[in-house]
Amino acid sequence: MSLSLASGGSTRAASSSVTAATERTRRPIVTGTSVLAIKYAGGVMMTADTLCSYGSMAKYKDARRLQSINPKTLIGGGGEYSDFQAITELLKRNALEDKCTADSLYDEDASEECAREVWNYLRAVMYNRRNKMNPLWNDVIVAGFSAQGEPFLGFVDKIGTTYEDNIVATGFGSYLALPILREKYREDLTEGEARALLEDCMRVLFYRDCRALNKIQIAKVTKEDGVLISEPYEIETDWTSASFVVPKGALDGDGGW
């Protein structure tokens, strides 16, 4: 059996003496959970926690799940972390080639892909892998601006499903955070309001998702400054409700819930 550097690995048929079936999907091993994103008055804001779990173990607590592809485009990924790193590498390599091709040297406008182009390209990549029954096991959110200069937010999943909206979320976030974000969303959200809203949602996710952490990163994409990703920081949590503190396990209780 020979090891392969090719993307997607070597085909089984080439490596074993017995003709094996076509490649089957593998299961994710090291995984990231939700990513949330919302458009606001100045652009787009995205958040994710910094945890990658190894099954049920909280193994890597400083994983960076928000990455800038070029100065104008931000992606965030949940799911298998190695596949997300491969996607980041691929998109960054494309961005670098764009910058270095002969065309871009003479083109004053620069040919950096806008977020919508990155989103579309990623869709093709994911769908192509899905057709080979060997998906990149991720849900990715692409944030930035479209070529026309409008804020852009798009979603791509592991089988190549895509949609764009003012609010997107992956994983548990799509169940718990999306309703909160939808209720509070306004087109003219200020940066402070958008950030507080996203932090509230990450707090709820930390309470209710077994695979979440209370250390998060927030990133924004604006016309003036491009992509800015914060350093990881801890969010506050509240455990002081009276009904929480009261113990329920004593003899006069019902045995503890």
Binding site: S16, A20, G55, Y207, D209, W239, V245
Partner: protein
């Protein structure tokens, strides 16, 4: 030279996650980290507070330390329904026994009663329990009753899915004849560390210190843990 392919041709993962493979669909699990340490004059029992269904936290402030009798307590891990039922049965039988014998039952009796229920019904239960308490015969004592229904008296006991992450920590920090404060702080520290790494444990830490004079319950909020979940 021919190399055997290392591709696992016979292993296929069945898709079930580690936490839920033994539970019925939708059944709640106290994922859990539980712990009990005897000290000079009594026992400290402690537990986290997360109850999960798969990866959803059904209750983030549950109370997994249940009282079986005046000075006998147990920590529950495994299926929430199974351990609650077991606790109810043991409480009932112990209170009956106290009336019949005219004195409080010993921790050993409580532990063996729990064991009997867990052993005879082992096919239908998923419960790992630590029974601890104070009685005039043994003073502080701790019994570990894992899946299957063995009953083992131990110098200290840890259990639940989170306990795997702290065997090293507790093995290195435990000493015979700890003081009450040392035992309490070791319980809180160890459970914090387990909660930081186990996805099925989390929330707050509930403890009870059981001595001849009574029970002291304590509550450590999730943002004041000795070692926070965010870690390094």
């Amino acid at each position: 030279m021919n190399y055997q392919s290392y591709a696992p041709s016979t292993y296929e993962h069945d898709g079930k996650s580690a936490e839920t493979r033994n539970l019925k669909p939708g059944e709640l699990s106290t994922g859990t980290t539980i712990m009990a340490i005897p000290f000079e004059g009594g026992v400290v029992l402690g537990a986290d507070s997360r109850v999960s269904t798969g990866t959803y936290v059904a209750n983030r402030v549950s109370d997994k330390v249940a009282q079986l009798h005046d000075s006998i307590w147990c920590c529950r891990s495994g299926s929430a329904a199974d351990t609650q039922a077991l606790t109810d049965y043991v409480r009932h039988y112990l209170s009956q026994l106290a009336v019949e014998t005219g004195r409080a039952p010993t921790v050993k009796v409580a532990a063996h009663l729990m064991r009997k229920l867990c052993y005879e019904n082992k096919d239908n239960l998923m419960a790992g329990v630590i029974v601890g308490g104070w009685d005039p015969v043994e003073k502080g004592s701790v019994y570990n009753i894992p899946l299957g229904g063995s009953c083992i008296k131990m110098p200290f006991a840890i259990g639940g899915s989170g306990s795997t992450y702290i065997y090293g920590l507790v093995d290195s920090e435990f000493k015979e004849a700890l003081s009450k404060d040392e035992a309490l702080s070791l319980v809180k520290k160890s459970i914090s560390h387990a909660m930081a790494r186990d996805g099925s444990s989390g929330g707050i830490i509930r403890t009870v210190v059981v001595t001849e004079s009574g029970n002291e319950r304590e509550y450590v909020p999730g943002d004041q843990l000795p070692y926070g979940p965010a870690g390094w």
